[in-house]
């Protein structure tokens, strides 16, 4: 679980636009529904394998064709279910979190590869928004890149909704962060500052 530091609050959580998930799941969903429909049809309609198939695979004559087809379709459904949920997990666990202290990026690249990185607000130098294409413009999603000082992992919020608004929130969070740090410094007694 992503753990927050003491007094750290989440200001914003961004995931990719919903359209990206729909696009990823469209073909899988269509195939899943087609197979379910086929199963329903098989419940009511019986069929036999054509002779040319039973000539090649004579062992098929020993099985009820309807049951065999239902069994194989249910195995295919299981595979498609797993594929769909890998896509859902990849979408859901790719997120960018802006807190009062830092920006966190977590991304599931594949089942055995993931990234978890963070950049504190005082390292952010610039934020760039990139909206390219007809669909991103119409649906208002795009990339947001955070340019950082030093050797930090490249921070790109990919295909997020309302990237311009997100940019404003990051700048506000950075301003609040600096104000808080200045207040903390003002509260430090003068002897401590001198000793340090």
């Amino acid at each position: 679980m992503i753990t927050l530091r003491k007094n750290e609050e989440i200001l914003l959580i961004k995931r990719r636009h919903h359209f990206i998930l729909i696009r990823a799941l469209l073909l899988t969903t269509l195939v899943f529904l087609a197979l379910v429909l086929l199963m329903i049809i098989l419940f009511f309609v019986s069929f036999e394998f054509p002779d040319w198939i039973t000539n090649i695979f004579p062992f098929l004559l020993g099985y009820r064709t309807r049951l065999l087809a239902l069994y194989l379709i249910s195995l295919a459904l299981l595979i498609i279910w797993q594929v769909a949920f890998i896509a859902v997990a990849t979408y859901y666990l790719d997120c960018w979190i802006v807190t009062t202290e830092r920006t966190i990026h977590t991304e599931l690249r594949s089942l055995f590869s993931r990234i978890l990185s963070s950049v504190p607000h005082h390292r952010i130098q610039d934020v760039t928004v990139d909206v390219k294409g007809i669909l991103p413009t119409l649906l208002r999603y795009g990339d947001l890149q955070i340019q950082t000082a030093g050797k930090f992992h490249e921070f790109i919020f990919k295909e997020i909704p309302d990237p311009y608004k997100t940019k404003e929130i990051i700048f506000k969070a950075q301003k609040m962060y600096f104000r808080r740090k200045m207040k903390q410094r003002e509260n430090i007694p003068e002897e401590k500052v001198a000793n340090n």
């Binding site: 679980m1 927050l4 020993g62 099985y63 049951l67 069994y71 299981l78 997990a89 977590t106």
Partner: protein, 67 residues
């Protein structure tokens, strides 16, 4: 021979599904946000769907041998 192949096929696909399910659960538990209700719902849906489909496949497999 064909019966054995059908059983092995079921075993392999069910085992792979359980492994993939376990990995997905691991990622959700390890890298999710605290108090995230939606992720709990996603995991429940995934778990129930996987179990239902595995049982359905097993049911058809048993029927294939009985009938």
């Amino acid at each position: 021979m064909a019966n054995i192949i059908l059983v092995i096929l079921f075993g392999i696909i069910a085992a792979i599904s359980l492994v993939i399910g376990g990995i997905i659960f691991y990622h959700f538990k390890k890298f999710n946000l605290p108090h995230d209700i939606l992720s709990a719902k996603i995991l429940t849906l995934f778990k129930l769907g996987s179990v239902a489909i595995i049982f359905m496949a097993f049911f058809f497999l048993i029927l294939l041998f009985i009938l």
